[in-house]
């Protein structure tokens, strides 16, 4: 039996600020717990060393403004690089599954990155998935976001990709950051139904979450048949989390991972550093490695206090039924969208970066292609913390783009490359693994 790969990178020398939830101390007690348990010494576990992502790995997913270096620290390269390393170990068949216990996190980072949103600058899971698609040619991937906050960054990155299923359950956006993740966010016109959200009421317990897992998430996964299942593994549904208000336990997290059986789990949020994280991380490792976790629990855990409200179970059941129906009718809906829509689908967005206090304006055009998921043209403006006001133009060609979309998108890049309306014009061509940008004022093209 192959071992479970663990990559533990607590970034003990990185913090957003000294008292921020994303601080050096965050995984300290997790370190103490997993080292004291000696779980890394077991034959069922193989520990991996962190890796380093390259600017190109990041540009495959993001348009970093003005460039990759401006949006990241070395810690981000190690965190993302560590996800790549555990993914390589999985794809090379060294491990049966893998868990990257890494920080900084990433699931709030969207395609365009002007700064830090929800503690994230770059999206570790998306960088990992696009790396795997490029390197190993895999196509269909499912991401299950088990963080208490809606994984809005990952959702946005894959909103128009019918080959990536994104499912997120989270505390209802009307009661928690980032405020999104509602039932009607179901994917773009040509990727309808492969984005599924389940906004749960505050104080939902193990029973409620596991119900949604078994009745909604597992059936969808079975029908979608992904080549890879990724758990975007936040740990802040825990009853002791200081930033959220759910009632999930370490046992619940272990059970969830046992049933979900992700190929790769990547740590996201979770800020109850002493009461939850040491036990939840142990639970995840044990469940993924097939070790009996019945003797694991938090010292202050009292099961009687965590009973599910029957009315809440009914509410969850209603959502489950509706989302299951949406998922099963997705292909019909996509066909309809293809026929009725215009040549381009236009969307206008305002995005707020809470950590860096940046307001971004975005105008997106998605090519509604009859043959592929289409390319995207994104115009984005934002004033950065340093006072600079950036206007950028981004061309994004997905890995599954058809030949005519590729050539049309590439000519959009060429056409805009002299347009002084913009500070920067970017090309993200995943088909040809070609990532470049032009600094209009300096008239310099940078190729990654």
């Amino acid at each position: 039996m192959k071992p479970t790969g663990i990559l533990f990178f607590p970034a003990f020398d990185w913090a957003i600020s000294p008292t921020h939830p994303e601080r050096e101390e965050r995984l300290l007690y997790t370190r103490d717990q997993i080292f004291e348990e000696g779980i890394m010494d077991l034959l069922q576990i193989r520990e991996y060393q962190p890796g380093l992502a390259t600017a190109k790995d990041i540009a495959r997913v993001h348009f970093c403004v003005p460039d990759v270096e401006a949006q990241i620290t070395e810690a981000h390269l190690v965190s993302a690089g560590s996800a790549l390393r555990i993914a390589d170990a999985y794809m090379e068949g060294e491990i049966k599954n893998g868990f990257a216990i890494i920080r900084p996190p990433g699931h709030h980072s969207k395609t365009v990155s002007h700064g830090n949103r929800g503690f994230c600058n770059i999206n570790n899971e998306a960088i990992m998935i696009e790396y795997l698609r490029q390197k190993y040619g895999i196509k269909r991937v499912a991401i299950v976001d088990t963080d208490v906050h809606h994984g809005d960054g990952t959702q946005e990155i894959y909103y128009n990709d019918p080959d990536v299923l994104f499912i997120s359950f989270h505390q209802d956006g009307r009661t928690l950051y980032p405020g999104s993740g509602h039932m009607d966010e179901l994917g773009g016109p040509l990727a309808y139904g492969t984005t599924i959200n389940l906004p749960l009421a505050p104080r939902t317990t193990d029973t409620g979450i596991l119900y949604a897992l078994e009745k909604l998430i597992m059936p969808i996964l079975e029908e979608f048949k992904p080549e890879l299942i990724v758990n975007s593994a936040g740990q802040d549904n825990h009853y002791s989390d200081p930033l959220a208000d759910m009632r999930f336990s370490a046992q619940g997290y272990a059970r969830l991972n046992e049933i979900l059986a992700p190929d790769i789990a990547v740590l996201e949020g979770g800020y109850s550093v002493q009461t939850a994280l040491p036990y939840v991380n142990m639970g995840l490792i044990m469940a993924m490695a097939g070790i009996d976790y019945s003797n694991l629990r938090e010292p202050d855990y009292v099961p009687e206090r965590m009973r599910e409200n029957p009315a809440n179970l009914e509410y969850i059941d209603k959502m489950v039924k509706r989302q299951l129906q949406v998922f099963r009718q997705r292909e019909e809906q996509i066909e309809k969208n293809r026929k009725t829509r215009e040549r381009f689908h236009h969307v206008h967005k305002q995005i707020f970066y809470d950590t860096d206090y940046i307001h971004e304006e975005q105008s997106i055009q998605l090519r509604l292609c009859p043959d592929c998921p289409g390319f995207r043209l994104i115009e984005s403006t934002a004033q950065h913390r340093n006072g600079y006001y950036y206007r950028v133009y981004c061309v994004s060609i997905p890995a599954n783009a058809c030949a005519s979309c590729q050539s049309e998108a590439r000519s959009c890049y060429t056409d805009m490359s002299g347009n002084d309306r913009y500070d920067l014009v970017y090309l993200q061509d995943r088909v040809n693994n070609d990532f470049r940008s032009i600094d209009i004022k300096k008239d310099v093209e940078m190729v990654l």
Partner: protein
């Protein structure tokens, strides 16, 4: 005048070393059933031409504990574990006599659950009824708070006075409960036998009128006064490879990246020196496939040596793990690895014609002598090269937990192969050629192990953990736990000072006070603890050590 004695699996070597020169050497076959007599035999031979009053220091590297653990002949010991929540009970497969106690401690040293006295009575009765006279008690996070271990230990001592009890926190202060449990258990099962050995050596030295310092070599290449070793027998495991590595350091001198190959009759021990410093096993010494908290060099042993037998089956040349005899060139009965190298590179070892004849004989009609020789050389160099490369890789792939460690990751570039052991002269030059690095074999290479033991200095590592919120600190070795006097103003410099003082204190107790001023910090960590958005305290982890090195009077070896 210094004496070093290294007990090996096949032979025991001894040297007398004085002012840069080896003035006497000896070698006798090891009697595994009576190591004491083997040691004394070597000692007596070395003393033949020396004035006993000139001997200032004797260092022994023995296999007493290694053999005890390998053969499972240690004293029957009850292992009492207090695991609390976490891994299931079946994760702890250390002793057949394992008992689980209720109780729990967390990572901050907070007591979660108390012991259950009724359970203690029941277990104590069972242990005594089974005729067991020794017990080891280990609690998860007992290194952060040893209260439960102490309570259980006191209870047992009070109710069962015939029982000798060891606790985990006395043995090690490092995280990793299974390794602490294993180390405490191995310490307990070897304690009686080791103390008997120490008594016998002590007595024999007195009988011989020897009144010098006597030390035991540890797995980390440092020494321990014979008397101090009584409490920590397990520290003496794997001292053979440690002796070789120290010997290689003593002979090679310079601080470069090198690999040390100790090629004996049937085994080769391989160690890495990184910028001149020996590499430690990152998970501690592994004994019977279990990791421990014993600091040991990262030594790989493979079943391949100068006397390894060569066979040819259906045109297939094989190098066997076993030995039949000495090499044919020394009058042995069959072809060995040494013979193949001797023939292939015209090394003129012993009688080279006998090497050629032995190779020709096993080649028979199927293979020419040249072909057999070339095949053996290829097998040996490839195997050694593979192990060396995988050791580099392992070192490069050690986990890292800080950004700067990942960014500044070093690559291992091999600069030299240092050969020691009897068979190294035949094999090392060719291996170094194949790996395109220089090699070094000192004239004393054959006795480097005993020489390494003779000149090694004592080592000591101290670990301190401080929690300014609970106001508790713990110090290792010794399992010291106390309350901070100034928790509010406690800073990293205070932690450093506290660790340094403990090092000096323990150094004094162990008779190595003159070395504690050569200590260096190997770990300094501090974390702010935040509650809400405010700082509620600090956590410190500080480590300070006297690293492996040489005694003051050692100023190098004359070439």
């Amino acid at each position: 005048m210094l004496i070093g004695i290294d007990v090996g699996g096949t032979y025991t070597d001894g040297v007398v070393f004085d002012r840069g020169e080896v003035i006497a050497t000896t070698k006798v076959p090891t009697d595994d059933n009576d190591i004491k007599s083997t040691v004394l035999q070597v000692l007596d031979k070395l003393l033949l031409k020396q004035d006993k009053s000139d001997i200032t220091r004797i260092v022994l590297s023995t296999t007493v504990v290694t053999n005890l653990l390998a053969t499972g002949k240690g004293e029957r010991t009850a292992l009492l574990l207090i695991p609390g929540y976490g891994l299931p009970a079946d994760a702890y497969d250390i002793s057949d006599d394992t008992f689980f106690l209720k109780g729990g401690i967390d990572f901050r040293g907070r007591e979660l659950d108390p012991l259950d006295e009724k359970e203690l009575i029941q277990i104590g009765d069972n242990i005594v009824a089974a005729g067991i006279k020794r017990a080891a008690i280990i609690s998860k996070f007992g290194n952060r708070n040893d209260n439960l271990e102490k309570q259980a230990s006191h209870y047992m001592a009070q109710h069962y006075p015939q029982l000798s009890v060891t606790t985990g926190s006395q043995i090690s202060g490092k995280l990793n409960f299974p390794r602490r449990a294993t180390t405490a258990y191995y310490t307990a099962i070897t304690s009686k036998e080791w103390n008997r050995f120490v008594d016998e050596i002590d007595q024999a030295l007195t009988e011989r009128g020897l009144d010098c310092e006597v030390h035991i070599l540890k797995a980390d290449g440092g020494t321990l006064a014979l008397d101090v070793s009584r409490d920590m027998p397990c520290e003496t495991v794997f001292s053979g490879p440690a002796a070789s590595t120290m010997g290689a350091m003593a002979l090679a001198g310079e601080g470069m990246n090198s690999v040390v190959l100790d090629i004996g009759g049937t085994t080769t021990d391989i160690a890495l020196l990184i910028e001149g410093e020996p590499l430690y096993a990152s998970k501690g010494a592994s004994i019977n496939q279990r990791y421990t908290h014993i600091n040991a060099f990262a030594v790989r042993s493979i079943a391949l040596g100068g006397d390894s037998c060569i066979t040819v089956n259906a045109g297939q040349v094989e190098v066997q793990a076993y030995r039949r005899d000495v090499a044919a060139c020394f009058g042995g009965s069959s072809a060995t690895v040494t013979d193949a190298f001797n023939y292939k590179f015209n090394l003129n070892i012993g009688n080279p014609e006998l090497s050629a004849a032995a190779l020709e004989q096993i080649g028979g009609s199927a293979m020419s002598t040249e072909e057999v020789g070339a095949a053996v050389v290829a097998i040996v160099t490839n195997r050694l090269q593979d192990v060396i490369t995988s050791m580099f890789k392992e070192w490069e792939n050690e986990p890292a937990y800080k950004v700067w460690e990942v960014i500044n990751k070093r690559k291992f570039t091999l600069e030299q192969i240092t050969g020691i052991g009897a068979a190294s002269r035949a094999i090392i030059p060719e291996l170094a050629d194949a790996m395109q690095v220089k090699h070094f074999i000192h004239q004393y290479a054959d006795v480097a192990n005993a020489l390494g033991a003779a000149v090694a200095r004592p080592t000591l590592a101290v670990n301190l953990h401080v929690d300014t919120q609970t106001k508790i600190y713990t110090l290792d070795p010794g399992g010291v736990r106390g309350t901070l006097e100034n928790p509010h103003n406690f800073q990293l410099k205070d932690a450093r000072e506290m660790a340094r003082k403990h090092l000096e204190q323990v150094g004094k107790e162990r008779g190595m006070a003159s070395y504690t001023n050569e200590s260096s910090f190997f770990m300094e960590e501090q974390f702010n603890m935040i509650g809400g958005w405010d700082q509620t305290g600090k956590l410190f982890d500080v480590g300070i050590q006297v690293t492996p090195g040489f005694i003051e009077e050692f100023k190098g070896v004359k070439i």
